[in-house]
């Protein structure tokens, strides 16, 4: 890396072109041959299949070439702005993953790289290597053959809340809670994944409110405070997502599928009641409160509309506590875990037996049917949404679409 000497070289001493060309060639050869002592080559893994794709990049299933039984998930680090050096988002993700060590959080095994060659303009690509999880929740829910008993649902939700409790007590916000980011291993352990949008949070510093970006969380799982432009938010943003995911365990598809921020807010109001200062005292101070059109006169009907699916009064009650408009009144992970839902019969039970019937991985990315389904239902105007589906729902256990 000869060019590292750049800063030392005195200014404006132009060297002959020939010398420069030689230097460039030498540098290239040097880069190609350089062996980084602590960063292994990605070629030690063999890619098996692509299992995810999104704004964050691509995720592959891969196995160790030396030990075929050892499978991993490899996530490519996107170097979209290479002029700024190592992307700050990736830096955050790596730091957060290194900090978090918990059964219900996906674990980062190592980071590996591809060799620099002339074909990638001497810039290596980096991969985050994770333990492999067989399923994601969105994939499982879209597979009609997968059936969860009430005890199994409790087990899933409890593990998810355990994971959230852990990351929140480590002062981390996930900021992208959705079913596709909840992984489940074949032995039934749930893992929160994709910390690409996560960040550390703190209480207000010197009385100054935090100014985090509010352009986070997938729209369908985005809580009302973010939709209204709050920049001083905290753990409750993840608990809203947890509530949406919990409801999805019964409804089998995302409960509020808006296609714009405005429509998402309307859907939320139709379920949780109108957003007013009476139910949410500080809402008036949010930036977009006066700019967005808020539906008036809606009554809160969370229990009423989810009861036909959930059919468990405790479950309904917990959902009612999670899907609360005012983030200050929303349950935190701790109080959710203490809810009677997890401490009444049927108690949370092992998932491994049910999952052992699944011989194939269930990933949202590999389930095109569900994707199409999403699109079609998301396109429907908001006004047709309410309660048509609910009347039939008491008889059969599972539904393709709701709301």
């Amino acid at each position: 890396m000869t060019n590292l000497n750049g800063v030392l070289t005195p200014p404006s001493t132009p060297s002959p072109n020939l010398l420069q060309m030689n230097m460039a060639r030498e540098r290239e050869k040097y880069l190609e041959e350089y062996n980084f002592p602590f960063c292994e080559a990605a070629t030690k893994f063999e890619k098996l299949a692509k299992i995810g794709q999104g704004t964050f990049g691509e995720v592959f299933k891969a196995r160790d070439k030396k030990n075929h039984k050892f499978t991993v998930a490899m996530k490519k680090i996107l170097m979209e702005n290479e002029k700024e050096g190592f992307p700050i988002t990736a830096l955050r993700e790596i730091r957060i993953l290194q900090l978090l060590k918990h059964d219900n959080v996906v674990s980062l095994l190592e980071i590996c790289q591809t060799r620099a060659t002339q074909f990638n303009r001497y810039r290596s690509t980096f991969y985050l290597v994770f333990e492999f999880c067989e399923h994601d929740l969105a994939g499982l829910l879209s597979n009609t053959k997968v059936k969860f008993s009430l005890g199994e649902i409790k087990q899933v939700i409890q593990q998810m809340l355990n994971g959230l409790y852990y990351i929140h007590s480590n002062k981390i916000l996930h900021r992208d809670m959705k079913a596709a980011n909840v992984l489940i291993t074949k032995t039934g352990t749930l893992k929160l994944a994709d910390f690409g949008l996560a960040r550390a949070f703190s209480a207000q510093k010197n009385g100054q409110p935090n100014r985090y970006t509010n352009r986070v969380v997938t729209l369908w799982y985005r809580p009302p405070e973010l939709l209204l432009g709050d920049r001083n938010y905290g753990p409750p943003v993840d608990l809203w997502g947890a509530g949406c995911i919990m409801a999805e365990m019964w409804t089998r598809s995302p409960i509020m599928q808006g296609n714009s921020e405005q429509q998402q807010l309307t859907l939320i109001s139709q379920l949780c009641g109108s957003i007013t200062p009476e139910v949410w005292p500080k809402v008036e101070s949010l930036d977009l409160y006066n700019q967005l059109e808020l539906v008036k006169g809606q009554k809160r009907k969370v229990k009423e509309r989810l009861k036909p699916y959930v059919r468990d009064p405790m479950g309904c009650d917990l959902l009612d506590k999670l899907l609360v408009l005012d983030p200050a009144k929303r349950f935190d992970a701790d109080s959710a875990l203490n809810h009677d839902f997890f401490w009444t019969d049927p108690m949370p039970c092992d998932l491994s037996k049910m999952l052992s019937q699944q011989t194939q991985s269930n990933f949202e990315y590999l389930a095109p049917r569900r994707l199409n389904n999403h699109q079609s239902s998301a396109m429907r105007p908001a006004s047709t949404v309410p309660s048509q589906g609910t009347s039939t729902s008491t008889t059969s256990g599972f539904h393709e679409r709701v709301f």
Binding site: G6, M23, Y30, C39, L91, R95
Partner: protein
């Protein structure tokens, strides 16, 4: 790799003849330098206001100590938080723990660690600001850097160096800084060492100075964060000799109430390491 490095060096050598002469002339002046410094220091202890330290000619020196001073100077100019600058110093020491000291340019690595630390601590310095600050700290009288080839080369080299540092650090940018413990200990200790004349404040301030100066030494990586914090406070107490009626070292040293796993030997080693940092200044 070694061969390569030599070759690279020979290329740059021809370029930096003028620079080398600078180094020589500086060495001649050096004899008088220590005198000046010691005088200055004795003054600074009595007077409330410190005289300004002479500006360091970084290009005349090549040592990790001076490079960390460079990190501190640039970091302060960029308005970065203390903890960010300290992280940069830690990355720098970690990097040179694994890498041959002569393979890479000290100041490029130092600039890149500063850039990396600013990203890690969520107060990203603009790369252009960083380049300007680093460049003008190295070349104090130089004309403003134009957006030309040199600028783009610096930019490239910092970005490359950052990538290299990330890999050498094994992507681990976490470090347990003594600062949190330090603050906690000070808050606990204040009533114990309370002095009417505010002497306790002076002592604790000095302890904080020791802590920051210790980042100039790679020994910062050797000790536990808690132990470093205690060593800084203990050293300051020893230097100023503040008495406390409540504490009897014979029965139980004060720090044992704060940390369980610190024995006298380790503490003395850590304190010696802090003091050794000040010798580094003279041996470059």
């Amino acid at each position: 790799m070694g061969k390569k490095a030599q070759k690279m060096k020979s290329v740059t050598k021809s370029k930096t003849k003028a620079h080398k002469q600078k180094v020589k002339s500086h060495k001649k002046n050096k004899i008088s330098k220590p005198k000046y410094r010691t005088k200055q220091r004795s003054e600074s202890q009595d007077k409330y206001k410190k005289p300004e330290a002479p500006l360091t000619d970084y290009l005349a020196h090549k040592s990790n100590y001076i490079a960390v001073r460079f990190i501190f100077e640039c970091g302060i100019k960029l308005g970065l938080k203390h903890i960010t600058i300290c992280s940069a110093a830690v990355y720098f020491h970690k990097f040179y723990k694994h890498v041959d000291a002569n393979t890479y340019d000290n100041y490029s690595i130092a600039s890149a660690t500063l850039y990396l630390a600013s990203k890690v601590h969520d107060e990203t310095a603009r790369l252009r600001d960083l380049i300007n600050v680093c460049y003008h700290t190295l070349h104090r009288d130089a004309a403003p850097l134009r957006l030309a080839e040199d600028y783009w080369n610096f930019r490239d080299s910092i970005v490359h160096a950052e990538m290299l540092i990330m890999r050498i650090l094994q992507f681990d940018t976490t470090f347990d800084h003594p600062h949190n413990y330090f603050l906690h200990y000070i808050q606990t200790l204040r009533p114990v060492f309370y002095s009417k004349h505010g002497k306790d404040i002076i002592v604790f301030k000095k302890a904080y100075d020791f802590l920051h100066d210790f980042y100039h030494s790679s020994d910062i990586l050797q000790y536990k964060a808690q132990h470093i914090a205690i060593a800084c406070i203990e050293l300051a107490i020893k230097v100023y000799g503040i008495p406390s009626q409540i504490i009897d070292y014979e029965i139980q040293p004060w720090y044992q109430a704060l940390v369980e796993d610190l024995d006298k030997d380790t503490l003395w080693k850590a304190m010696a390491a802090i003091m050794d940092t000040y010798d580094l200044e003279l041996t470059d």
